[in-house]
């Protein structure tokens, strides 16, 4: 019998993912059409980096907006949705007014947040938790309630300086700036109906 040489073994461990073909320009546009209103204009990005350079939270980001847009064009949606960039966006709109191509960057960040949240990429994320607590008060009372939001958020994610935060809270309370009970709007059932219908209308992203 002929001595058959063994087949060279592949690298042990995770199988490397199959090479992905970048999505077509039209499908990228369609994707942004679904997550952002108006004309997002992402196809005009010239990769100049004005966005990252203007961002007050740039030091915390794993990808600057410029890199995020390049990743989207390359079809690396997994990386994009796992990125912390949208969640550290403080909505200062500096990137949006400085963008030479007038891309609606902040709106796109909102869209990416929604997408990542609805596809379940945001476990143990402080910013998501804050948003969820905030949304809970809106859906039950129609207005935001600072004391409740702070208390519920800090129970899950305690502040770094607990004493300082407590001092600030008590100072606000004694100055009459912190209410102990939430305000409730009278059209609450109407608002809940509207939100219920809107959630049904939201396209499955």
């Amino acid at each position: 019998m002929a001595n058959v040489s063994p087949v060279p073994q592949e690298k042990v461990g995770k199988a490397s993912p199959p090479p992905r073909t970048p999505p077509s320009q039209a499908s990228v546009l369609e994707f942004f059409r679904t997550i952002s209103p108006g004309l997002p204009q992402i196809e005009f990005c010239i990769q100049c980096g004005s966005c990252g350079g203007s961002c007050p939270a740039a030091a915390l980001l794993d990808h600057t907006p410029r890199r995020l847009f390049a990743l989207i064009r390359a079809g690396e949606m997994e990386d994009v949705l796992q990125s912390n960039t949208p969640w550290y966006c403080v909505s200062c709109y500096f990137c949006m007014v400085r963008c030479p191509q007038e891309i609606h960057i902040t709106d796109l960040m909102y869209g990416l947040k929604t997408l990542a949240y609805q596809r379940g990429y945001t476990r143990n994320n402080k910013a998501t938790h804050l948003s969820k607590v905030f949304a809970g008060y809106i859906e039950h009372y129609g207005r935001s309630f600072e004391l409740g939001i702070a208390a519920r958020h800090y129970l899950r994610h305690p502040p770094a300086n607990l004493v300082g935060t407590a001092k600030m809270g008590s100072a606000m309370f004694f100055k009459g700036r912190l209410h102990l009970r939430p305000e409730k709007i009278s059209g609450m059932t109407q608002l809940q109906k509207i939100l219920q219908r809107a959630k049904e209308l939201e396209t499955a992203l």
Binding site: V90, Y117, K126, A135, K167, R177, L195
Partner: protein
């Protein structure tokens, strides 16, 4: 002139001083604000992070309410920056994006409401004061010029940016607050960081970064020689005012830079009492800065403290034979 007014949640709680001062000065300026009845929260930047159509529907409910309650002018005035930007963006996008308009109105119909794009004009109170009334009108009404008070303007972000209705000439070098400061007779301080970010909701997400951003602003204001900052945004006021003690601890500084709302400064120049303007509600007290121009803020009630516990061991003691006089 009658205007519909959308106060927003923070003006009802953490920034009640903004609402107090706005109510105090509206009569003198000839403005009449009537609050939109049964308004709901605009969702700030939090609700839109989780849901897209519901967040626009949430905001559009306020626009629909305003459309129903229009009397006088069809202008809806917002005081909070985030509320203003949310209302203005939604009104704009519903006009330009037909699909969004259909879906949002479909959702509103579930509650028996409807909003026609373009029926309500959304403006910020600063825009109304500077671009409609004009700073000269404010100047004519000044009764107590604030001569000698060094004031630095601080705009924050969302009043100027993204500016969906193109109200300002330049979102990075505005002049609105500057005109108002000069109108009150105060000394205008050049503050280069006046349009920078106060860190928004960052204190709850990443405290270090937020304290860094607040430190940059306070340090800048101190170095430019300002007595106090004035702002247009409830969240900027809360961040710079409330987190200043924590910031001082983090950076080993001892800054005390008070920050007031611009309506409070205008009210002072109109000769109104500090108490009626809500001055005294700020955590970093403005009393020292205002004492420079002879405005007395009522002293705070003394904080009741429990007397320190006597920790000494019980010891026998001799009665003093000659009393305490010797």
């Amino acid at each position: 002139m009658k205007y519909l007014f959308y106060p927003g949640c923070s003006l009802h709680s953490s920034s009640s001083a903004y609402l107090d001062s706005l109510i105090a000065i509206q009569g003198k300026l000839g403005l009449e604000f009537s609050e939109v009845e049964d308004w709901n929260c605009c969702g700030a930047n939090e609700y839109i992070a989780l849901h897209r159509i519901p967040s626009y529907a949430l905001i559009a409910r306020n626009l629909a309410l305003a459309e129903q309650q229009v009397n006088g002018s069809n202008t809806l005035v917002a005081a909070c920056s985030a509320c203003y930007v949310n209302l203005a963006r939604t009104a704009k996008y519903m006009g330009t994006d037909k699909e969004l308009n259909t879906r949002v109105n479909d959702a509103l119909a579930a509650g028996g409401m409807h909003y026609t794009p373009g029926s309500v004009e959304v403006r910020h109170i600063l825009d109304l004061m500077c671009n409609k009334l004009g700073a000269c009108k404010v100047k004519k009404l000044v009764e107590r010029p604030l001569t000698g008070l060094r004031v630095a303007p601080y705009y924050g972000c969302m009043v100027l940016r993204p500016d969906p209705d193109k109200r300002w000439r330049d979102p990075e070098s505005p002049t609105a607050l500057e005109e108002l400061i000069l109108a009150t007779g105060a000394e205008l301080i050049d503050f280069p960081l006046r349009t920078h970010c106060c860190s928004g909701h960052m204190p709850q997400i990443n405290t270090e970064t937020s304290l860094d951003l607040i430190h940059r602003l306070v340090e800048g204001a101190v170095q430019s020689g300002a007595d106090l900052l004035i702002t247009t945004c409830p969240l900027c006021q809360l961040n710079i005012d409330g987190y200043q003690a924590e910031m001082n601890k983090q950076f080993g500084t001892s800054h005390k830079m008070p920050i007031l709302f611009f309506t409070q400064l205008i009210g002072l120049a109109f000769g109104l009492s500090p108490k009626s303007l809500g001055i005294g509600k700020e955590i970093t007290s403005a009393a020292q800065a205002l004492a420079r121009i002879g405005v007395k803020v009522e002293p705070e009630p003394p904080v009741l403290k429990r007397p320190p516990k006597d920790q000494r061991l019980p010891m026998p003691h001799m009665p003093k034979p000659y009393g305490d006089d010797l």
